[in-house]
């Protein structure tokens, strides 16, 4: 009888049946937690590459990382322990905090197993074309996913059971901060889990691959640990002073077709060591600085990317500010104007690149050549996309067209937050419009411009689409160089090292960006 009495919070003691259910749920939690760790260990011990490695055929660490990565084993262990601990807590005390966390655990374990089940169903069911299968393989799909659907049933029952008794049977008060953090993590778990799967896992895969000589589609080539060789090859750069090639009169020879100065080669023994010159920059007096390295292609790609980034970002910013200042005045049809400015942004980059490709055609069927000829800017049509001296300008022009109006819209949004009374005061004091711009507008816009600048820089550093579509393999950016190594050369290890280098560069810029912006908060 006493078990039916309610305490002041409306809670009562559990019946024997309910108590058994709580015990069962707790033991289930412990079993799931410890079971996950056991399964992980089992997979590691039975993995064939690791076994081979232990038998002295390659690196054990590499085999482990290649098969499992870092995040999956670490997370499985940590989450397994946390869940098992929750089970033990539930077994000993009927506290409300433990109960509510138990509900959270059961919720997401149910959802997780269903999602994994569905994912396995669809991936395993894909017909294996090498094995000559066609159509969706239902039998395979169901066998491999059924265990996940089966375990979802007890998980879901425990979830429902626990949430129905959590407020009536469990004791204690939960502090606001602990309840807040439970609610927050409950909401964040799907995002965190998805990002771990789709971003962190491939990232660590890239890191691991970058220290191997892995290649795609090369039969059963053995993947070997090569240490930092890929990075060494990629990043070895040296600068040498070289002379230009002299004709009989002692003047520098110039390549007649490209109009570029011709340079002597670097030292023979450097060449024998594998150094190749990527580019030579003249420093006057018939001398130049030669940038050479073991991978001259990557050096060139880096130069191209840096040149692209610097020019396009500066031009976009200047043009963006000018456009924003013009459009900021009030006039009829301002809405139309703003809409027109969004058009280049809305057109997919690939489409706009192809569009410019058509406009830049190297004979008079290209409108740019036609117009330039008609106006008299050039005396014969130019091959904008194949002539080495024009390629970068063309690419930069295309990118500026696509992004400057968007930049203008960002600056415009910033302009509209500026208080008008300052300008009125400046007007009264007789400051000219130009003076107003430099003393008021520009300083106040600095945060907006800084943010836009860093955003654009990050975008430009990883430029892929315009380069790939307009120049193909003629001239590469860092990203298209990475793509070529991966797809054309099938050199996954080397491509991964490039990916890591780009990641580090972007990461540094991101850190700078966060320093500048901070996150608006109650800090």
């Amino acid at each position: 009888m006493s078990s039916k009495e309610l305490d002041i919070y409306g809670r009562r003691d559990p019946t024997r049946q309910e108590q058994n259910f709580i015990y069962a749920a707790a033991i289930f939690l412990i079993a799931v937690g410890l079971g996950a760790i056991t399964v992980l260990i089992y997979f590691i011990l039975t993995n064939s590459t690791i076994k081979d490695a232990i038998d002295g055929d390659g690196s054990v660490v590499l085999a482990f990382l290649d098969a499992f990565g870092i995040s999956v084993p670490v997370l499985t262990t940590v989450m397994g322990l946390v869940i098992a601990r929750l089970g033990f807590q539930l077994l000993r005390h009927r506290t409300i905090t433990a109960a509510r966390w138990t509900v959270v655990a059961f919720t997401w374990m149910t959802v997780g197993s269903l999602v994994i089940g569905i994912a396995r169903f669809f991936t395993v069911g894909q017909p294996d074309k090498i094995a000559g299968e066609s159509g969706f393989q239902f039998a395979n799909a169901i066998t491999s996913s059924s265990s996940f659907f089966l375990i979802a049933i007890p998980l879901a029952l425990s979830w429902l059971g626990m949430s129905s008794i959590v407020n009536t049977l469990f004791h204690g008060e939960e502090s606001l901060s602990s309840s807040n953090s439970r609610v927050a993590w409950n909401l964040l778990i799907p995002t965190v889990a998805l990002l771990l799967v789709v971003a962190v896992r491939p990232l660590e895969e890239t890191f691991v691959t970058s220290v191997t000589n892995k290649r795609f589609a090369s039969g059963d080539q053995k993947v070997e640990f090569v240490g930092l060789d890929n990075y060494k090859n990629l990043l070895t750069v040296r600068m040498d002073i070289v002379d230009c090639k002299k004709d009989e009169a002692g003047n520098c020879e110039v390549n007649e077709r490209t109009g570029k100065t011709m340079w002597e080669l670097i030292n023979r023994d450097l060449l024998e060591k594998g150094y190749r010159t990527a580019d030579v920059y003249s420093i006057g007096n018939g001398r130049g600085v030669a940038f050479s390295g073991t991978d001259e292609g990557f050096i060139l790609a880096t130069f191209n990317t840096l040149r692209f980034t610097l020019s396009s970002v500066v031009l976009e910013l200047l043009l963006g500010i000018i456009i924003a200042l013009v459009v900021n005045s009030s006039f009829k049809g301002r809405g139309v104007m703003r809409a027109a400015m969004l058009v280049p942004w809305a057109i997919p980059t690939v489409v706009s690149a192809k569009l410019w490709d058509t406009m830049l055609r190297d004979n008079t069927s290209g409108i740019i050549n036609k117009f330039a000829l008609d106006v008299g800017l050039v005396d014969q049509s130019k091959a904008w996309l194949t002539e080495a001296g024009l390629q970068m300008n063309a690419i930069i022009a295309v990118d500026v067209w696509k992004t400057a109006p968007f930049m203008a819209l960002l600056v415009l949004a910033g302009l509209q937050t500026l208080p008008s009374d300052i300008y009125e005061a400046a007007q009264v004091d007789g400051a000219s419009r130009i003076r107003q711009f430099f003393s008021i507008t520009l300083p106040l816009l600095r945060p907006t411009i800084a943010v836009a600048l860093v955003f654009r820089t990050l975008d430009a550093l990883r430029v892929f689409d315009v380069f790939q579509v307009l120049l193909g393999r003629q001239r590469l950016s860092m990203a298209t160089y990475n793509y070529e190594q991966l797809i054309s050369n099938r050199d996954a290890g080397y491509a991964s090292a490039i990916g890591v280098v780009i990641f580090v560069v972007i990461f540094i810029f991101t850190a700078i960006y966060m320093r500048i912006l901070g996150i608006e908060s109650e800090q």
Binding site: S177, T191, E205, T349, V350, K354, T358, I367, A495
Partner: protein, 297 residues
């Protein structure tokens, strides 16, 4: 004999001086600049339309500024091109799924980050912000390895599973800004009345953020629709799985021995017009959404 007039400062006044006066010259120069900007932003799109209305012969001959014999033959060809119609369907599927998944999952996270105070919140905010700038190219080889292991190369499923890398952090970041901007009183009143945090989220905050969800969804859709790197890498082995950008980049018309310029422009116009219309309709919201995260700092 010329007569020279002078203004009250004793400076000479003529036609040019009058014209150069701030009022007249300013207005003229202003409208000239406006026209210039409008022309600069819109002309390439106009030219795509113009080219798409030419025959293939006209398109590769020496061009003229005006197309005297417009024809719809390219549009007919484009819609009979299976590779292209497949691509439209593929892009629609992939982009829609990306939007739905990102909004569903991302709105939870954004509510937590924008509305709930908890330990580790700042860390999560920084992590999400860093993720919005995550360079896709860095994980290309790792992801391609995984895609090949799962045997998903040449299958749009590979895009469905990889697009959250950029759509999800973006969605969370923009929606967090919106959630932060909502007044707190409503929520407190509901909590006092005994609603659970989930009820507050579903019943009160979600309806209020409906416009934000639409905008964010639209932006996410455009981002997924325009994505090229993953699509090119993962689907280029199978023409049935091309998305729109890949299809346009690798476009092969009905006449295979020549580069189908006019037909490709017709395809470009077909995929761009819906986007342009959407953008024109939602321009205010789009600018708001894009600047929500960026300008407030």
């Amino acid at each position: 004999m010329k007569t020279q007039t002078y203004d009250h400062n004793g400076d000479p006044v003529g036609f040019l001086q009058k014209f150069l006066r701030p009022q007249t010259f300013g207005k003229f120069a202003f409208y000239l600049m406006l026209a210039g900007i409008f022309f600069y932003t819109v002309f390439p799109f106009f030219w795509a339309v113009n080219t798409s209305l030419k025959t293939e012969q006209q398109a590769i001959q020496s061009t003229s500024y005006v197309n005297t014999h417009p024809t719809l033959v390219n549009y007919k060809a484009v819609f009979n091109n299976e590779q292209f119609t497949h691509a439209l369907l593929n892009s629609t599927i992939v982009s829609s799924i990306s939007v739905l998944v990102s909004l569903l999952i991302g709105s939870f996270a954004a509510y937590a980050l924008g509305r709930v105070k908890f330990r580790g919140r700042m860390l999560m905010m920084y992590a999400i912000l860093a993720m919005t700038m995550f360079p896709q190219i860095s994980i290309l080889s790792g992801l391609f390895g995984i895609v090949r292991e799962l045997d998903l190369a040449g299958n749009i499923l590979s895009l469905v599973i990889s697009y959250p890398i950029f759509t999800l952090p973006f969605t969370v970041w923009v929606l967090t800004a919106f959630f932060k901007g909502l007044p707190g009183e409503l929520e407190q009143a509901a909590l006092v009345d005994g609603a659970s945090p989930f009820q507050v989220f579903y019943r009160i905050l979600l309806p209020l953020t409906m416009p934000a969800l639409v905008t964010t969804g639209l932006l996410t859709f455009i981002a997924a629709w325009n994505e090229y790197l993953f699509a090119l890498t993962f689907t280029s082995t199978n023409a049935d799985s091309y998305t729109v950008p890949v299809s346009i980049a690798l476009f092969s018309g009905e006449v295979s021995f020549q580069d189908p310029v006019a037909e490709r422009m017709a395809a470009a116009v077909v995929v761009t017009v819906p986007l342009v219309i959407l953008v024109l309709f939602f321009q205010r919201q789009i600018i708001g959404g894009l600047t929500a995260g960026a300008v407030k700092g």
